[in-house]
């Protein structure tokens, strides 16, 4: 899989911000078919950092209703990437 397709967007929230500052973990929304190895190489090449660990989770899309129409948001994959101590990623400069 092309590394540019692996990482879809960074997740920036209060929670990820705390993780990033205390443990050096950054979070991304990634391609649903990407595996941990692919994510690792993608982050390492794109952000020029060293990755020590990757945890992933499949997030089920929520059921949403609009009037009498039902719909489902897409499932997606979230990845928590632990960076080697001393490396960091600044999402706004990429």
């Amino acid at each position: 899989m092309n590394i540019y397709d692996v990482i879809q967007k960074p997740l920036i929230s209060e929670k990820t911000q705390v993780e990033k500052e205390s443990k050096g973990i950054v979070a991304f929304q990634v391609h649903r078919d990407a595996n941990k190895l692919e994510i690792k190489t993608a982050v390492e090449t794109l952000f020029k950092v060293e990755v020590t660990d990757v945890n992933t989770i499949n997030v089920a899309g929520k059921m949403k209703r609009f009037g009498r129409h039902y719909g489902k948001r897409s499932n997606w994959k979230k990845a928590y990437v632990t960076l080697k101590e001393g490396s960091s990623v600044d999402f706004f400069e990429v």
Partner: protein, 435 residues
């Protein structure tokens, strides 16, 4: 803070201000603190957004706010410290704001010129002599007489003449067919009044009562009804009777109809009186105008563009209001704001010059308007406009702009009085053109 005032021209000033680094940083922090409290970024609760993210999302807003705060504060301070009153919108020029560096900016604006007053006593002005004109009085009485005239039927049969009223029946034919609204009965038409289409009235002249005539006329090309415009038509006209104006005799009875006058002489005296008063007022206004003009001519200085523009706007607004009262607009009288702006420019310039000079004289001579005078003036206005003094008084109290304008006007009047007292007034029959 470094403030540097520079005179670009007599009516233009440039202020350069440099704000030290720590003052800038303090302001930046203050603004960020304010932004943080209300910033909403997705993924964060309100007020919980970390500083780096705020800086990334809101640096534009920060810069604008900081600039606004700093300039507001320092600009006003600079004006007050240097006692400068700008008369135009200031135009700002500044470098980009970088936190952690001193901030420099400059402002340019127009100010009222400093006027060096020359000798302003002993101005030479001409004053027109009051001439009571019997002809005007006669004309006025003739008007009154016409107004009271009644129509009287002429009994003896004779041809109708121009200026008389012809009571007619008429019916119009277009190509031999009667057309709509072309028929009228017992219509009193004053011949020569131009009420009807051209040619009609002339052809009625000379008819005798009871006579019927065919009149052929052509409707003017720009006539209101399209089907008739420009078409030749024939009117069948019957003259029923002739009426003429019966002017009332100019005797004491006539005078009594216009109020508490017992004799014709009293009425005449009254009309002459009104006329004289109007003339006096006119002469007084002319004198004042000329005095200000003489004052302007003694002094030469530049006038700020902004003040002229403002005066022009006032002039045009007045003009528009006057026209609106007659249901007209500038466009309807074949003009436009731009045309008047160029035409009235010199008037506006001299008005601005006049008021600047008068203000300067007032300052020099210590002429001021007392509260009591203001109150008296308001009483005057109230009496003239038939309004309650209290109502007007509270209007002026609650409306500082209107009050200032009134005070300015009073002050100018007082200055003119002062100048007049010290001027050399020569009475002449007719004013010379270039005074």
């Amino acid at each position: 803070m470094v403030i540097n005032v520079e005179n670009v021209s007599p009516i233009k000033k440039k202020i350069s201000i440099e704000i030290p680094t720590e003052r800038v940083s303090r302001e930046v922090e203050k603004v960020y603190a304010e932004i943080r409290r209300n910033a909403s970024v997705k993924g964060f609760r309100k007020g919980k957004v970390p500083q780096p993210i705020i800086e990334k999302y809101y640096s534009d807003k920060m810069e604008a706010d900081v600039l606004k705060n700093l300039i507001n504060e320092t600009y006003m301070k600079a004006l007050i410290e240097n006692k400068i009153v700008p008369v135009s919108q200031p135009s700002f020029e500044s470098d980009a704001l970088t936190p952690g560096q001193a901030f420099k900016y400059s402002v340019t604006f127009e100010t009222a010129p400093e006027i060096e007053l020359k000798e302003c006593t002993g101005l030479q002005v001409e004053k027109r002599k009051l001439v009571s004109d019997e002809k005007v009085v006669d004309g006025r009485i003739q008007e009154l007489r016409e107004g009271m005239a009644q129509l009287k039927v002429v009994e003896e049969p004779r041809p109708v003449a121009m200026g008389e009223f012809a009571v007619i029946d008429f019916k119009g034919y277009l190509n031999g067919v009667p057309f709509e609204r072309g028929e009228m009965q017992d219509y009193p038409l004053q011949l020569g009044s131009g009420q009807f289409i051209p040619g009609f009235e002339e052809q009625v002249v000379g008819m005798s009562p009871g006579e019927t005539r065919e009149i052929s006329v052509t409707f003017p090309a720009e006539y209101g009804a399209h089907e008739l415009a420009g078409k030749p038509v024939i009117f069948q006209v019957t003259l029923k009777e002739i009426k003429e104006k019966d002017l009332p005799p100019l005797d004491d009875d006539f005078a009594k109809q216009f109020g508490p006058y017992d004799t014709m002489d009293q009425l005449r005296a009254r009309i002459a009186d009104v006329f004289n008063k109007e003339e006096e007022q006119k002469i007084e206004n002319e004198l004042r105008d000329r005095l200000v003009k003489a004052l302007i001519e003694k002094h030469e200085f530049e006038v700020p563009e902004a003040m002229v523009e403002k005066q022009l706007t006032v002039l045009i607004d007045n003009m528009k209001n006057n026209l609106a009262r007659q249901n007209l607009t500038l466009e309807k009288i074949g003009s436009s704001e731009e045309i008047i702006r160029t035409q009235a420019r010199s008037v506006a310039v001299s008005q601005v010059k006049g008021s600047l000079l008068l203000a300067a004289v007032a300052d020099k001579e210590g002429i001021n308007v007392e509260d009591a005078e203001l109150e008296e003036k308001i009483r005057d206005i109230a009496a003239q406009a038939n309004k309650d003094f209290e109502v007007l008084q509270s209007f002026y109290q609650g409306n500082p702009y209107a009050k200032d304008a009134l005070v300015m006007q009073l002050r100018e009047d007082k200055v003119i009085d002062y100048l007049l007292k010290h001027a050399q007034v020569t009475e002449v029959d007719t004013l010379s053109e270039n005074a």
